[in-house]
Symmetry: C2
Subunit: 243 residues, 2 copies
């Protein structure tokens, strides 16, 4: 009987290839099979970060999202379509794992902090051994890019998703010291209105493509577009105790 | 006139040496002068993580905290003593920087996420160029150790310090989906009471020394000591949307 291969969920960090961990670098260079999510028709952000490290004859398993923004989150079909997609992804990975082959899944940011890998992890945990390699989050890359610490002393940090209702955003914003908002994209006008209502707009920063060549860091009041890239991050720094 | 050297604030990640970034690894191996905080009488956690990488003739600049728990946070002397300490640390680093020598400061976790480096950064920002290398946080190491994602879908994540008053802890716990608590130590009984009041105690996990050889992961209900190490982390996982 064949042994089952091992699945590695490898965090790539915020974007610069040399900000991934030494462990991740070693696993990716040595990988025979790599899998990664991407939007249909693009090379994918995860692949792009890891590509300088891939061996010439690596087998690339591209997992292409069937939907990203075409179906609304509130539509029950959204979960159905994604659920079927993740099940199909797992079936593809099981072919390799079942043949005793290890597979490295490239994960943007940290695998267990939002993101897609967890939907493979929960479905494959009983099938194969899984090793998860933690990584620098996109938000760490973003606050480092602003040149200021995100939290001091006993500051409370809250991480919010731009997909939340405006009232919930304002409620959460009103009771935190430091703030990170992700998944903004088309929700930007709502997020902006919430920040104004919570009197945080003038302290907020927008960071896009943190740690990468095209990194953009702006006070949010200087950000003039109507929308924001999906991977843009908004930050409000804490102001806690500083001896 | 001599050029001023560059200061590098290098994040070491959660503890395992190979979880630091490739960039951090390269900077530490190449460093002529390294500085690091430590408790008097100990080698220090930061030094221990980095020690396998240090060149044989590296110059070690140990910055030893004058107090840790002897003076209470609420005592005004606490801030005074620490402020003088950080000023002295900066004077020591300025001797090297002013002679055109680069200095690498070893920072546990991520340099701009709580931690001591920021107190050097704010004091030296006008003196020298400073490069900060973001890293995997201790909390990422901790949730990875539990084998479960910390956040799903639109979960709100809140990071709290055990040093906060109990009522504030309960208030914050009641309005989040996922939770991280740090700086626990002698505050453990208060934190535990707050978790019970917020009905989160039975879902909480304690993680000590995440990613290191002596890593300990327990349901909090199985953690029987009266106190917790200062670097212990308590987690409550989110339960959000999962297709």
């Amino acid at each position: 009987m064949k042994n089952i291969g091992q699945l590695h969920g490898v965090g790539l960090g915020p974007g610069a290839t040399d900000l991934m961990s030494v462990r991740a670098d070693r696993l990716i260079r040595g990988a025979k099979h790599i899998a990664f999510f991407r939007k249909m028709g693009s090379k994918g952000h995860a692949w792009t970060i890891a590509s300088p490290l891939l061996s010439r004859d690596v087998n690339e398993i591209a997992l292409e999202y069937p939907v990203t923004t075409e179906i609304k989150l509130t539509d029950p079909r959204y979960n159905e379509v994604l659920s079927e997609f993740y099940a199909n992804c797992c079936n593809r990975l099981k072919e390799y794992l079942g043949n005793g082959e290890d597979v490295v899944v490239l994960c943007e940011g940290d695998p267990f902090f939002y993101g897609s890998f967890m939907h493979l992890h929960s479905r494959l945990a009983n099938f194969a051994r899984i090793q998860v390699v933690p990584a620098t989050t996109g938000m760490s890359g973003a606050w480092t890019a602003t040149g200021q610490p995100i939290t001091w002393g006993d500051d409370v940090l809250t991480v919010l998703m731009g997909t939340m209702p405006k009232e919930e955003l304002v409620y959460q914003m009103n009771k935190t010291d430091a703030l990170v908002i992700m998944k903004i994209g088309k929700n930007y006008q709502k997020v902006k209105a919430a920040l104004k209502e919570a009197n945080l707009f003038n302290r907020a920063w927008s960071v896009h493509y943190a740690t990468m060549e095209n990194q953009k860091v702006l006070k949010l009041s200087d950000y003039l577009s109507e929308e924001m890239p999906y991977f843009g991050i908004i930050l409000v720094h804490g102001t806690g105790r500083r001896p």
